[in-house]
């Protein structure tokens, strides 16, 4: 009775949310929270997170039925932390089935903002008495097909596309790109429930040749078929796939969040095998893999045989080329030069509150990786084979949760990561994480939590907390202290550093949200200046303060204001500053199948150290996070128009204009002038 009363009360309270739920749009502030900080941590604007977008867009279209869900499925909603997932599953265990979506408010750890974030991706429905049997007729009738074709073009002519006389090309064939300036890709996907997934991806980057002496057709092809829950086979995947086990210390080709304002979301997600339909040309396996279930035990095995790019000389190569670009003769000489075979297995055993697993992987290269020797890369992996093994665990006990992984390589290089989560009350959560990756530990497919993108030569301690002091308020903070016992690229001695973040979120109304975030990082770096001939090591400080206000005038019209200031200081140099102001507006028409969003921003960042990463909305399944520095302004406009019931058109136009700049970029990417304009067009067809 009490539960019914609660539900009725919450029904009234959340009546506005029903409208929001019908929209089924991916809340971009979530993507912003995740991606911007990944870009900042990795110090790159170019990284592939297609799988996160795929998951979120998929569940926005086909929401998860909470009465028929499981942990693996909920883990794909990346903004939920582990405690929230466990609490949701516990609630389902106690009160199954859920009667309606408003019961979410009754679950511990779910606050108003969390529920708002969750609503576009979940539903509460009765479970069908009998699942639809897998028959060819049903596959044709109920299967969902999706065809995506995308075209990108920069409007200004880059140096690499300009005319070069034949005589000059003979002398220097890398003075010009071999292909046209268009990027295009074609993706086909098939999904039957969550049981059968198949897809083909093809891509040609700008500057790559589509038809000519060097290449015929697309530059990159990818395909997969994945079957789930067929008899003992939990997963069977053929073609291109990704594999992740434990905390990613030995194997993870999917994304890792790392440090972000989602301070408790540190645990690796998406354990096991999953199809890969991304246009990332490097970070995946190509072969066959399966997960078989025997009661409490799950056994995953896979084999991959793939050709990758490397700058080979005879039987050696010094590095793996990971950008997937084949635009010049020099790029082509590195294309498909190294064969890599990977075999791996993971056994896991799950009990009520404990899960343990063992991972073993081995990779073989047909050529020897021999990096150009420098002191900093003395311990980097070299050779043509590597074996690594690990033990991982997850434990949940009362208000505590533990997870971790300890690994060792065939050269007896150890690494370990361990975490303790504690919820002393319903309003406070804490997360402590320790890691030690020895300088000699360097596993090619490792992707665990860390300050560096490479899991080696790092020790650290992370403490994160999330507090809900009052209704509508959330305080998130972390402090991460780290040290590098050996030299690193750009740091010619063992070094230390720390990273701090504090963010206050306030949601006074359904349609109004704001946050203030301060982040400060101190690291040691090589410093060179006019008075020294050799670099010296000194502190490098970088801080940023951001204020974001989001408000809705109506269901159709939303606005956002952003103010951000950055500061950086090297050694005893004068600090330098950067600032960005942005105005966003998004609108969906009622009478037309048209929606658009636009942003105008103005930036003034003295140098690269003061760069500001800003998440940009984009065409479907895409995003961009340009690092803005210098002085200038940028605008972009995204348009979505439903041409037909099953046919949608997405267009993005973005332009950056600088002052005091006569050229943009360098080398073959150089543009004469101070404007850079990009256009993207995507056509989506579902049937």
């Amino acid at each position: 009775m009490k539960r019914i009363f609660h539900i009725l009360f919450l029904f009234a309270l959340f009546s506005v949310s029903i409208v929001a739920q019908q929209e089924k749009q991916v809340p971009t502030e979530l993507l912003e929270a995740i991606f911007e900080q990944i870009a900042e941590n990795r110090e790159t604007e170019d990284f592939d997170q297609t799988e996160i977008l795929d998951d979120l867009y998929h569940y926005a279209q086909y929401p998860i039925n909470l009465n028929a869900t499981n942990k693996k499925e909920l883990e794909k909603l990346h903004f939920l932390n582990d405690t929230q997932i466990e609490n949701l599953l516990y609630y389902l265990y106690m009160y199954f089935p859920m009667e309606n979506i408003f019961e979410l408010q009754l679950i511990e750890g779910f606050y108003k903002q969390d529920i708002r974030n969750l609503l576009p991706f979940v539903t509460v429905e009765r479970i069908a008495d009998k699942p639809t049997p897998i028959k060819f007729k049903n596959m044709l009738k109920h299967g969902k097909h999706e065809l995506l074709t995308r075209l990108d073009k920069g409007l200004e002519t880059k140096e690499g596309y300009k005319f070069v006389p034949d005589e000059e090309l003979v002398e220097n064939p890398n003075k010009q790109y071999i292909g046209n300036p268009f990027y295009y890709s074609l993706k086909y996907r098939y999904r039957y429930s969550n049981r059968i997934l198949a897809g083909v991806t093809t891509e040609k980057d700008a500057g790559e040749q589509s038809w000519g002496a060097y290449n015929k057709g697309f530059d990159f092809y990818s395909g997969y078929v994945q079957l789930n829950d067929f008899g003992r086979f939990k997963t069977l995947v053929v073609g291109d796939f990704s594999a992740s086990f434990g905390q990613g210390l030995v194997m993870s080709t999917t994304y890792g969040f790392g440090k972000s304002s989602l301070v408790l979301n540190l645990e690796a997600r998406n354990e096991g095998l999953r199809k890969c339909g991304s246009t990332n040309e490097t970070n995946f396996f190509r072969g066959i893999g399966s997960t078989v279930k025997f009661g409490r035990i799950e056994l995953t095995s896979f084999y991959s045989n793939k050709i990758i790019d490397g700058d080979t000389v005879g039987n050696f190569f010094s590095s793996i080329k990971t950008d997937g670009l084949h635009r010049t003769i020099n790029d082509l000489s590195k294309k498909n030069t190294v064969n890599i075979q990977v075999v791996g297995t993971h056994v896991s055993m799950r009990f009520e509150k404990v899960k343990v697993g063992i991972t073993l992987t081995n990779l073989q290269l047909n050529k020897t990786l021999s990096t150009t020797p420098y002191p900093y890369n003395y311990y980097y992996f070299s050779g043509n084979q590597q074996t690594a093994g690990s033990v991982d665990y997850k434990i949940r006990w009362r208000k505590f949760s533990f997870f971790g992984e300890t690994a060792i390589t065939n050269k007896f290089a150890p690494a370990t990561i361990n975490s303790l989560g504690f919820n002393p009350s319903s309003t406070v959560s804490l997360m402590l994480l320790q890691r030690y990756y020895s300088p000699t530990y360097d596993v090619l497919f490792a992707n665990a939590f860390g300050e560096s993108s490479r899991n080696n030569n790092e020790e650290g301690l992370y403490l994160g907390t999330e507090i809900h002091p009052y209704k509508s308020w959330k305080i998130s903070a972390y402090a991460d202290c780290f040290s590098f016992p050996w030299l690193k690229y750009g740091i010619d001695k063992p070094s230390v550093g720390y990273d701090l973040l504090i963010q206050a979120d306030y949601s006074p109304k359904e349609e109004t949200r704001m946050y203030v975030r301060y982040r400060f990082k101190q690291k040691e770096n090589n410093i060179t200046n006019d008075s020294t001939t050799t670099p010296f090591i000194s502190n490098y400080n970088r801080g940023s303060l951001r204020y974001v206000l989001q408000y809705a005038i109506s269901d159709k019209l939303k606005l956002q204001n952003t103010l951000e200031g950055t500061y950086s200081q090297k050694a005893s140099d004068k600090p330098t500053y950067g600032i960005l102001l942005a105005q966003d507006l998004s609108y969906s028409f009622t009478k037309l199948p048209l929606s658009f969003n636009l942003r105008y921003e103005l930036f003034d960042a003295m140098n690269y150290e003061n760069r500001i990463y800003t998440y940009e909305k984009d065409i479907l399944y895409a995003f961009s996070i340009p690092a803005l520095y210098g002085k200038g302004s940028r605008y972009y406009l995204n348009i979505k128009y439903n041409l037909w019931k099953n046919l949608s058109l997405y267009v993005k136009i973005g332009q950056t204009t600088y002052i005091h700049k006569e050229i943009i970029g360098s080398g073959l990417e150089e543009i004469d002038g101070n404007r850079k304009t990009d256009v993207r067009v995507l056509l989506k067809c579902t049937f």
Binding site: I553, Y577, I579, Y600, S633
Partner: protein
């Protein structure tokens, strides 16, 4: 209410150490708003300020404005403006002149603004801008755009956005180019009561430091209001009055630059009812 106070306070004090005097085109009329924080000042539209403001009132209006810089006649700007409501949108017209025979600037603009759901106003303005740099070169001209938004967050609280020359249009000269400022402004206005208004604003020109402004307007009696505020670093205090005689409004504003002296702004407007 706490939220709205926080906004205005935040806009007023954010990054004060970045601030320096703002560069603006000389033919730009200065607003009669306290501290010239005009972006969310919905009471009155001045030529070349946030064009969305003209759709916040639905009456015909004409106005004249005179700006005198540092008590020098040659550094004065004269402008006239008018707002004309129509069924579809409100039209704004503006014309201004700055300078003297050897150097002068002329700017003329047409604005279109529309009120959506009474909580959201959008305006766009196109200005013809001509400058006489020397008699030998003659006038050089270009077209400059302006875009503005006013959002009503509550009955008492407004947020405004305004950008002047977002496309970064410049004037090409024989050997060089004259840069026309590209300004991004965010402003808030909070009505403590019918009598007391608080404004906050941040302005950023791409090549100049961020500038803050804040000011208050107090309606002392029905016919008379007092304005006080300031902006920048070094701080420029601003004091003004408005007198309302039926449909006629007279504005007088003064500000004192600690280095260069006193600026005065005088405005006269008439509302047709």
């Amino acid at each position: 209410m706490k939220l709205q106070l926080f906004f205005t306070l935040f806009f007023s004090v954010f990054c004060q150490h970045f601030c320096l005097t703002q560069q603006q085109p000389s033919a730009q009329a200065w607003s009669n708003a306290p501290a010239q924080a005009s972006t969310a000042y919905t009471k009155q539209w001045t030529a070349y300020c946030n064009p969305a403001i003209i759709s916040t009132v639905d009456t015909y209006k004409i106005a004249a404005n005179y700006v005198n810089r540092f008590q020098l006649k040659k550094l004065s700007t004269t402008s006239i403006s008018s707002s004309i409501p129509t069924k579809i949108a409100t039209i704004g017209l503006a014309l201004s002149h700055f300078g003297y025979s050897q150097y002068n600037e002329i700017q003329g603009g047409v604005a279109v603004a529309r009120n959506f759901t009474d909580r959201f106003h959008v305006g766009m303005q196109f200005n013809y801008y001509a400058v006489l740099l020397s008699p030998t070169e003659g006038y050089k001209n270009t077209v400059i755009a302006q875009i503005g938004i006013i959002s009503k967050i509550s009955d008492a609280f407004f947020i405004g956005f305004h950008t002047y020359n977002p496309a970064q249009t410049n004037i090409e000269l024989n050997l060089t180019e004259k840069r026309i400022p590209s300004i991004f402004s965010l402003g808030t206005s909070y009505h403590f009561s019918d009598k007391l208004l608080w404004l906050g604003q941040l302005d950023k020109e791409i090549d100049f430091p961020l500038q803050w402004r804040t000011g208050f307007e107090y309606l002392m009696v029905k016919e008379f209001s007092l304005k006080i505020g300031g902006y920048g670093n070094p701080f420029v205090p601003n004091l003004g009055v408005s007198v309302f005689i039926k449909q006629l409004q007279i504005d007088l504003n003064f500000e004192r630059n600690p280095t260069l002296g006193i600026n005065s702004i005088c405005g006269l407007s008439y509302t047709f009812r």
